[in-house]
């Protein structure tokens, strides 16, 4: 393991025990607070890709019908709204993938949270003001999401169940629980405050976009600037070494799956707010998109590398492709092909960088 992936800001959290710092200290000459060159490229790669994509669509739109793609504020706003829910799932997934795990249950944790949010808002609306009922709803959505998250964490961290299998089990459990609670149908909500959050705007920016941006920035800080984030990279790069260095790997992994579940819980709440209905299958089509966004964003499925900002670019790449091809009147099935090709190109670039960097992941 010579190309050991770096924590983005070694030493920046300062006051911790030095054992942690040593364990994850880069073998090469990296100054504190700096990204390695490869990481900078990996991070930028997704944004460069996004820029190229938008430029391509802009040229296409002008050539095709003399219109603009990027400079139409309606397009920008539509893509932002479209990307909110997949991005939240992908942000949670980023933490898990960096730790060399994967969370397959996120889609149905989101569905479960959406259904619970809908029921809670309806129930609380019976004796509370609409805004208070919404507060209850968001609390309930996040609270219920932590339960499968905690079980995932315990399975992976304490019982040594491979993440792929443990979260696959919870995928089924959450799916069944969500459909049972929803009684097999969608749960409509009647609450003016909820609909206002889901579809209202502040200075022409949708609330759900603001909520997602704030939440994702917090996650970015958590991953790049805190000890929690450093430990995450350390565990993903080499779990044995992290353990020997005194990192509480079990505790960290447990928290990690709770964190990703909370992201899915918030996504479920925002879905319910937007559509005024909780649906158990809300997140089902988004799970693989979330993994794709993380990979396009520069993370390695082998663990140890990846950033939240990269994932943001990855999620936007998928949203821009899907929206843009409709805007450009392309036959619908090209969307699948395009996203598939982008994923493969991203992984190929990732592999090339590893080889070029002189080392290989041995896994």
């Amino acid at each position: 393991m010579t190309s050991s992936p770096q924590p983005p800001a070694p030493g920046s959290s300062g006051s911790g025990p030095s054992a942690d710092q040593i364990a994850i200290a880069p073998p090469a000459d990296h100054g504190a607070g700096k990204l390695s060159l490869l990481q900078q490229i990996a991070l930028l790669r997704a944004w460069l890709f996004l820029a190229a994509l938008i430029l391509g669509f802009e040229i296409w739109a002008r050539a095709d019908f003399g219109g603009t793609f990027l400079f139409n504020p309606f397009n920008v706003q539509s893509i932002a709204i479209f990307a909110v829910v997949p991005l939240l799932l992908a942000a949670g997934q980023t933490f898990v993938i960096i730790s060399a795990g994967i969370d397959l249950s996120l889609g149905f944790i989101m569905g479960l949270a959406a259904v619970v949010a809908a029921h809670t808002v309806n129930w609380a609306g019976g004796f509370m003001s609409p805004p208070m009922a919404v507060v209850m709803g968001v609390c309930a959505a996040i609270a219920v999401a932590t339960i499968p998250g905690l079980i995932n964490g315990l399975l992976v961290a304490r019982l040594k169940v491979p993440p792929f299998i443990g979260t696959l089990g919870m995928f089924g459990v959450c799916r069944g629980a969500a459909f049972l609670l929803a009684n097999g149908t969608t749960v409509p909500v009647r609450n003016s405050a909820l609909s206002a959050i889901g579809n209202g705007r502040f200075m022409n920016v949708p609330y759900i976009v603001i909520i997602a941006v704030v939440f994702v920035l917090i996650l970015h800080y958590l991953l790049s600037q805190t000890r929690f984030g450093q430990h995450n990279y350390a565990i993903g790069a080499n779990e044995q070494a992290a353990r020997r260095a005194g990192i509480d790997v079990k505790g960290h992994l447990t928290k990690l799956y709770v964190l990703s579940a909370v992201c899915a819980g918030l996504a479920g709440f925002l879905y319910t707010a937007r559509f005024s209905a909780g649906a158990a299958q809300a997140g089902e089509p988004l799970l693989l998109d979330s993994v794709a966004a993380v990979v396009i964003g520069g993370a390695s499925l082998f663990g140890g590398s990846g950033t939240i900002l990269g994932t943001v670019a990855g999620a936007l790449v998928i949203a821009v492709i899907q929206y843009g091809l409709v805007f450009l009147n392309v036959k619908p099935f090209w969307q699948f092909i395009s996203v598939g090709v982008v994923i493969i190109i991203s992984v190929l670039i990732d592999q090339a960088q590893r080889n070029y960097g002189g080392g290989r992941q041995s896994e």
Partner: protein, 328 residues
Amino acid sequence: MKRRSILGAAALAALTTAFNPAAAVADDHAFTIALIPGLTTDAFYITMERGARAAADALGVELVFQGAPDFNPVTQVPVLDAVIARAPDAILIAPTDTVQLIEPLRRAHEAGIPVITVDTFIGSGVYQTGAGDADFPLSYIASDNVLGGRIAARALANAIGGEGKVFVSNVNPGISTTDQREEGFKLEMAENFPGVEVLETQFNENDANNAASQLQAVFARNPDLRGVFGANLFSALGSANGVEQAGQTGNIRVVAFDAPTSIVDNIESGLVDVAIAQHPAEIGYFGVVAAFAHLTGQSIPVAIGTGFTIIDAGNVNDPEVARFIYSD
């Protein structure tokens, strides 16, 4: 361990008695009819079960409702096999594929279990003709989805004054019912509303978020978009939200196929203009009645068409109309 095996044997004996139709018939001549929906997690099929149960109760028939959680032959066939193994007196099924369900259903037919398809069909949907390999089901009981699509087209065309651009928001290609709705919608527009231009169909994989985004993209490209036909629940829910996000409520009209409570709420709030309700309870009711008629020696029609109800803001609170809203 010994105790456990005794319990197991007792449970097995109980199961055998409960699920052995020969024994049941010998006891009290009650028939067991199995209803296998396209998927269990859908208000449409849950409402169908309610109608089937009403008929079963009226006729003294035992109804077994078993299905898979998603609309997929891969998950439906094992359920079907398990039901065949329990040898019910008749099977009502909403086949999830016109071709892939033919052989699995033939096994039931060859075991002497009469098969009736509800909502969806196998082969061409025309049975008892002596032609083809999928004519063995006794009857096909469903809404005419092509007609439903035509009704949706008329409702949308009238809402926009017979002129302008519209498109169909659909789930995925290859599903017999939603394909037929789209076909009927396009036929009606082409034949009777020359002023309406139908744009390329968008497929959203049953994802409301995707359907909303697609509506916004189509609108961004076609600022003169006037209407959308959501061919199922999530297509309609997503399209309505896309219209709301675009600030075009009332300007881009939304016609929804199917009428679960969430769509009806959207009619009341003005996001959806018209919902075309099928009568799934009627399908379930007549399915059981047809099976019962066959089992008691009566002849039954090879096709039974059930109706539609058009729901809009003007009649959504009318109890005569509200009873066609899908519910559990």
